[in-house]
Structure formats: structure tokens, C-alpha cells
């Protein structure tokens, strides 16, 4: 998958906005939205929130987890544990990027939040690399990792699969006279 595809999926997540216009309920294929009244918070998908923000028709309210203290706790927890800790949102990385790029004036302490989220991401990716490395070197058959998000899986997906394919080819070539000597390509 392409990272932009993952970001596209992330845009379906719901976020709260405060519009400055009024509009009756709208009926979209994905569900109903609204009604919109000036000054009253309403939940909308991120794609709509960003569009309205760019047209200066709303103010975005940062999600609850996008807070300096909470993220610091999560970061500390992540650093302590060897396994993956539960994430604040299955699309935390994409949401942070989207919201901080387009609505950083609505999010207090935006720079610190960006740094904290990046720290959490780095720690988790490091763990993922370690885990993949030990998986391959110990020639395990299967592994189970909890609490990974789609974006993190996506970073390692193609590389891991290619590596495993290569290893399979090499291994099957090592065993003389089996499988006709030639590996099958998938």
C-alpha cells in the first residue's frame, strides 16, 4: 500500500469542529452529517473538517489524546515496555500530520505535540525493526504483534515480504534435489 492510501483511510476518522455557518443535516453515502450551527460543536470526518478549515468555515478542536501531558505519558510507557502499547488512535500519525499541517493555529503547543508524536513513532518503529530482525534470524514460522497501526505495518510490509521470499528461494536452493531445484516465484 502507498502511504497516501493509508492517509486516505485515516481521513474517515471523526473529529470535532466548531463551524461558523449554518446548514441543515446533509445525507451522504457514508452517513449523515450535521446539522451545522455557528458556535456549536459537531462531529465530522477529517476530510470534511480540513476542507472547511481551508475555506475558513470552521475551527478544529484537537482530539482528546492530542495533549502534551497525555502524549508524554504514552511516550514514557512506550519506552519502558518491550512490546507495543495501545495507541491513542489507530491513525495517530496521520491525524497528527494532517491536523498540524492545516490547523496548527487551533492546536495549542503544536510544536511539542509534533515532537512527542515523532518520539512515540520512532520508538515503535525501532521495536518493529527489532522484532522483524529476530523473526527472520530465528526462522520463526509465525509471529503475533498487538497494537500495531496500519501505517506502521505499511512501512515494513513490502520489505519484509520481499525478504521472506528471498530467504525462501535461498533455502530451497540449498536443499539438493528437492522441489526440482528451482524455487517457485510468487
Amino acid at each position: 500500500m502507498d502511504p497516501s492510501e493509508v492517509e486516505f483511510l485515516a481521513e474517515k476518522e471523526v473529529v470535532k469542529i466548531i463551524p461558523n455557518f449554518s446548514l441543515d443535516k446533509i445525507y451522504l453515502i457514508g452517513g449523515d452529517l450535521g446539522p451545522f450551527n455557528p458556535g456549536l460543536p459537531v462531529d465530522v470526518p477529517v476530510w470534511l473538517a480540513l476542507n472547511l478549515k481551508q475555506r475558513q468555515k470552521c475551527r478544529i478542536v484537537p482530539p482528546e489524546w492530542m495533549d502534551v501531558e497525555k502524549l508524554e505519558e504514552i511516550r514514557e510507557l512506550e519506552r519502558k515496555e518491550d512490546t507495543f502499547t495501545p495507541v491513542p488512535s489507530p491513525y495517530y500519525m496521520e491525524l497528527t500530520k494532517l491536523l498540524l499541517n492545516h490547523a496548527s493555529d487551533n492546536i495549542p503547543k503544536a510544536d511539542e505535540i509534533r515532537t512527542l508524536v515523532k518520539d512515540i513513532w520512532d520508538t515503535r518503529i525501532a521495536k518493529l525493526r527489532l522484532s522483524a530482525d529476530s523473526f527472520i534470524s530465528q526462522q520463526e514460522a509465525h509471529a503475533k504483534l498487538d497494537n500495531l497501526t496500519l501505517m506502521e505495518i505499511n512501512t515494513t510490509r513490502s520489505f519484509l515480504l520481499d525478504t521472506l521470499n528471498c530467504m525462501f528461494k535461498l533455502r530451497s536452493n540449498l536443499q539438493p534435489g528437492s522441489s526440482g531445484g528451482k524455487a517457485q516465484d510468487h
Binding site: 481551508q54 475555506r55 475558513q56 496548527s104 493555529d105 492546536i107 503547543k109 503544536a110 509534533r114
Partner: protein
């Protein structure tokens, strides 16, 4: 007619329509265009942007688009000539004009249906009443000449003209955004750049500039106040606009201090840097401030912090001793990210250099788009490219001024001073463009006034001519009013040029929106000049 409520009488009209935006080629127009584009994007208004460089362009653009569009918005063009007469539109075409060229043609003012002028009106007007004008016409039998002498205005003069205060187009459109409460810091910054463009190119008086700065300062405080509350400071990437009482040295933060002092018209004319004596005075000046030459010739950002610390105050103090009382000027600066700081005048110079760039493969349309791009925050390399071009342009202006003064190329022709740039002059291609030539002309006049001993010559206006198109053998001719402290920037050369051209049947093209700039065939130069001399004596 004048629009009084810009929201009801302009924006609400166009917001559900398709609009053609015809934008003139100057920085103020570009800024107004950016603000309007941003508003259109917010409300998803469909528009077509057409850059125009003169009346012919405007006419062609209108013909191309008149089938598809009913509403035309003209920025910095169209007010000073009878628009309906020139374009001959259908009954249902409506023109919204936001133009800083004065005087406004009276016919445009009194057309109630098709021509709507977005011009802010102050109380001390001077619009002649409808009856005065049109009754005069019947009595005088349609005599068409509005006189242009800088004295009084006779009844026939009233017919054609209408002068009043002139707000930058960008400021007018910014006010629209404010009324719609859709104004952002970006739009405010563009309004500031529009105003600064008027000041850099000497189109408004100092008093007006200071008044408008105060107006914009209120908006700046409002925006800054909105965001800085409690501990929630903004991300470093957010744009911050600040009021600056900064030095009048062009591009000094992106250049070395020394280069900037040498190439800014204020300092160069005060020191008379084209002479050896002037160069020595400059060295004394730097020594007086205790600035080592090595520091001063370095890139500004690499200067020692200890030197940069109180630089503005130190320079101001020393400048007072050397007769430069106004080395500091009120302006605004912007800063976003860790290393991007720009003053409004930096952006004006950069955009002007891009707009009039004389590279071979670039059409005026390309240049327009590049200049428009450099105004966005996301196009910083374009802006830096523009700054480099601007440095070359300023250096070229400085060298041309120096050589003109030293070789006495400015001659008094009686009622005016005259200077002709020969074809072989270095960088003469740069001066085939109106804004660059205007800067050169004003700088040249200031320098001349400082260097001549002839008291009478100091009060004369200056006409400059430079080769425009070598194949077509034309020159561009431009006239500016005399240098004076209290000048109100009124330029009467437009009518003078027209009359001189008529009387000698010279082949001229009065294409520019600014009537004091014309194109003339090289061969007709002498007779044209002679006619001007007789006319203005």
C-alpha cells in the same frame, strides 16, 4: 458609479457567478489579486485570471471573454479612461473596477449601470456635480480637451477628471475580506505589500503612507492579539507579522550592509556615492559607527551578533549627523519558521524584479505567474530567486545613475530635464520595462538635484527615454514631476504627451494604464521633444 457597500454591491453579486479577473502588471494589483483569489477559493467562485499589461491587452482580453462572462473585475486598470467607449461592451456586461490610477474619468463615475468603481471615498471630495459637467458639454459644443497644466482646473478640465485620495487596491480588497470576516494573516500581509509597493514606487505621499500604515497596524494588532493568549503560544511555523521601525536600506537583511547602503537611493543620494568624495564620506560614516569594514561587507546574517544588536539605533544616530534624518521608516515584517524573515519592501523588490524579468524565454504571462507565486509562503525559492534578481536590478540602477551624473547625460531643455539612455548602455534592457524605468527615473532626479548647482534646474520635472524594442525601433518615454518635499504626486505628462504626439503626428503608442508612460518611434524622438518643449514653456 461608486460602490458604497463593497459586500452587498460587489461580493454578493459575483459570489454565484463566473467572473473574469483582469489584473494589471504591478505589485499592488498582484496583491489585490491574491486576496481576491483566496476569497474566491473559500466560496468556490469560478473565475478566470487574465494578466493585462496595457489597453490593447485589456481590449483583446475583453473580446476573448465577453461571450462567456458577464462580470468583469478590473484591478488597477480601467478607471482613468472612458471604459465603455473603449471596450464597447454589450448592455449586460458589468465592470467592477478597483484602480489606483488617477484622475478617474468622469464618465465612469456617472455611469449607473455598467461601471462600478470600488474606490474608498473620503469626505473632502471634489466630484463635479452631474449637471455642471454635462451642461458644460452642451454649451462648449463638445470641446474635447481637458487641460493639464498644473495650475487651476477650468470648467472644461472638470469634465474629464476627478482626483481624490488613493488607497492601494490590495487594501480595498483586504477591507472586503475583513467585512466578510474572512481575513487571514496571509491576506493582511498581502495588503501590507500592496501599500509598500505604492511607497517604493513613489505613488503616494509620505503622509498618506503613514496614515495607511496606522490603519494596517490596527489590523496587525488585532490578529496578533487573537493568537497570543495565556501559555498557548503559536507553532513556530505560523506566520507572525510585526510592526517594524526599520532602516530604509533596500534588501539589507538579505545582502551585506555595505552593498545595501551603496545601492539604496536614499543613502546613495545623500552621500553622493557616485563621486570619490562620497565614497570617502561613506567610509567615515562606517568608521563613525564603529563598524569594521570586514563585518559590513559580509552577508548580513553572518555578521557578529554584537554588531547586529543595536544596529538600527546606531545607524540612526550616525545618520542624523550626516544629514539623513529619515533613515528609518515605519513598515512591517513577517516571520515564519526559524529562518524566514522578510520586510515588506524586500518582497516588493523581489516581486517587481520577477514581474519585469528580461530573460529570453519568458513571456509576460509567465513572469506574472512567477511574481504571483513568490507572494505565497510556500514558494520560498521563488522569493529568493526574486531577491537575487532585485539585487542585480538595484545595482544596475545605481551604476546607470552614477554614469549619467558623471557624464552629464541629463540636460535641461527649458521647461524640463531630459535624459536619453543610449542603446549600448549596460543593462539597458532592464530599463525597457516601466517599473524599473520609473525607479531609475526617480533615483536619477534625486541624484541630479543633489549634485547640480543650478537652482532653477532643481525645480524641473524629468523626462527619460530608453530603447524599448530594438527591432521595432521604439523607445519608452516616461515623465515624472519635480522633486519636492510637499509634492502630491500628480503627474500631468499624460496629456502633454498626447498633445505633443498629435501636433507632430509622431507615431506613439499610449498603451500603459499610467498615461505618463508611452512608446515612441525612435525617428520621431526629436520632433516629439521639440513639441513638448514648446507646449510646456
Amino acid at each position: 458609479m461608486f460602490i458604497t457597500d463593497i459586500r452587498k454591491e460587489f461580493y454578493d453579486f459575483v459570489v454565484n457567478q463566473r467572473v473574469a479577473l483582469l489584473v494589471s502588471s504591478d505589485i499592488d494589483a498582484l496583491c489585490a489579486c491574491k486576496i481576491l483569489q483566496a476569497l474566491f477559493h473559500c466560496d468556490q467562485v469560478q473565475y478566470t485570471l487574465v494578466p493585462v499589461t496595457g489597453w490593447q491587452d485589456l481590449g483583446t482580453a475583453f473580446l476573448e471573454h465577453k461571450e462567456q462572462f458577464r462580470y468583469f473585475v478590473l484591478i488597477n486598470c480601467g478607471a482613468n479612461v472612458d471604459l465603455l467607449e473603449t471596450l464597447q461592451p454589450e448592455e449586460d456586461s458589468i465592470f467592477f473596477i478597483c484602480d489606483t490610477h488617477r484622475p478617474v474619468d468622469v464618465v465612469n463615475v456617472y455611469n449607473d449601470t455598467q461601471v462600478k468603481l470600488m474606490i474608498k471615498q473620503d469626505d473632502d471630495l471634489g466630484v463635479p456635480s452631474y449637471d455642471d459637467i454635462f451642461r458644460d458639454e452642451e454649451e462648449e459644443g463638445g470641446d474635447d480637451s481637458g487641460n493639464e497644466s498644473d495650475g487651476g482646473s477650468e470648467p472644461s478640465g472638470k469634465r474629464r477628471r476627478y482626483d481624490e485620495v488613493c488607497y492601494a487596491a490590495a487594501m480595498v480588497i483586504f477591507e472586503l475580506a475583513w467585512v466578510l470576516t474572512k481575513d487571514t494573516k496571509d491576506m493582511l500581509w498581502w495588503a501590507i505589500i500592496g501599500l509598500t509597493d505604492q511607497w517604493v514606487h513613489d505613488k503616494i505621499t509620505h503622509m498618506k503612507y503613514v496614515t495607511d500604515i496606522a490603519t494596517l497596524q490596527r489590523h496587525v494588532s488585532r490578529h496578533n492579539h487573537r493568537n497570543e493568549d495565556e501559555d498557548n503560544s503559536l507553532s513556530i511555523d505560523c506566520m507572525r507579522i510585526s510592526f517594524e521601525y526599520d532602516l530604509r536600506l533596500a534588501l539589507y537583511q538579505h545582502w551585506s550592509l555595505f552593498e545595501s547602503i551603496c545601492n539604496s537611493s536614499y543613502t546613495s543620494c545623500n552621500f553622493k556615492l557616485w563621486s570619490m568624495h562620497g565614497q570617502k564620506k561613506l567610509q567615515e560614516f562606517l568608521a563613525d559607527m564603529g563598524l569594521p569594514l570586514k563585518q559590513v561587507k559580509q552577508k548580513f546574517n553572518s555578521m557578529d551578533m554584537s554588531v547586529k544588536e543595536n544596529l538600527r539605533e546606531v545607524i540612526e544616530e550616525s545618520s542624523n549627523k550626516y544629514g539623513m534624518k529619515d533613515i528609518r521608516i515605519q513598515t512591517f515584517g513577517v516571520h515564519f519558521g526559524f529562518k524566514n524573515r522578510f520586510l515588506a519592501s524586500d518582497v516588493v523588490h523581489a516581486a517587481a524584479a520577477l514581474l519585469e524579468s528580461t530573460e529570453k524565454d519568458e513571456s509576460p504571462g509567465d513572469n506574472f505567474i512567477k511574481a504571483l507565486d513568490c507572494l505565497s509562503r510556500s514558494n520560498l525559492e521563488r522569493l529568493h530567486g526574486g531577491i537575487d534578481l532585485a539585487k542585480k536590478k538595484l545595482m544596475a540602477i545605481q551604476q546607470t545613475v552614477a554614469s549619467c551624473i558623471c557624464t552629464n547625460l541629463i540636460l535641461s531643455q527649458g521647461p524640463f530635464l531630459y535624459c536619453y539612455l543610449l542603446e549600448g548602455t549596460p543593462d539597458v534592457k532592464l530599463f525597457s520595462k516601466p517599473m524599473a524605468l520609473t525607479l531609475l527615473c526617480k533615483y536619477l532626479l534625486k541624484a541630479f538635484v543633489r549634485s547640480t548647482r543650478n537652482k532653477r534646474c532643481k525645480l524641473l520635472p524629468l523626462i527619460i527615454a530608453a530603447p524599448m524594442d530594438v527591432e521595432k525601433r521604439t523607445v519608452i518615454v516616461l515623465g515624472i514631476p519635480p522633486e519636492s518635499e510637499t509634492s502630491d504626486k500628480k503627474n500631468f505628462f499624460g496629456r502633454a504627451f498626447e498633445k505633443a504626439a498629435e501636433s507632430t503626428s509622431s507615431r506613439t503608442l499610449h498603451d500603459h494604464f499610467d498615461t505618463s508612460i508611452i512608446e515612441l518611434k525612435m525617428e520621431d524622438r526629436t520632433k516629439f521633444l521639440d513639441a513638448l518643449i514648446t507646449l510646456l514653456s
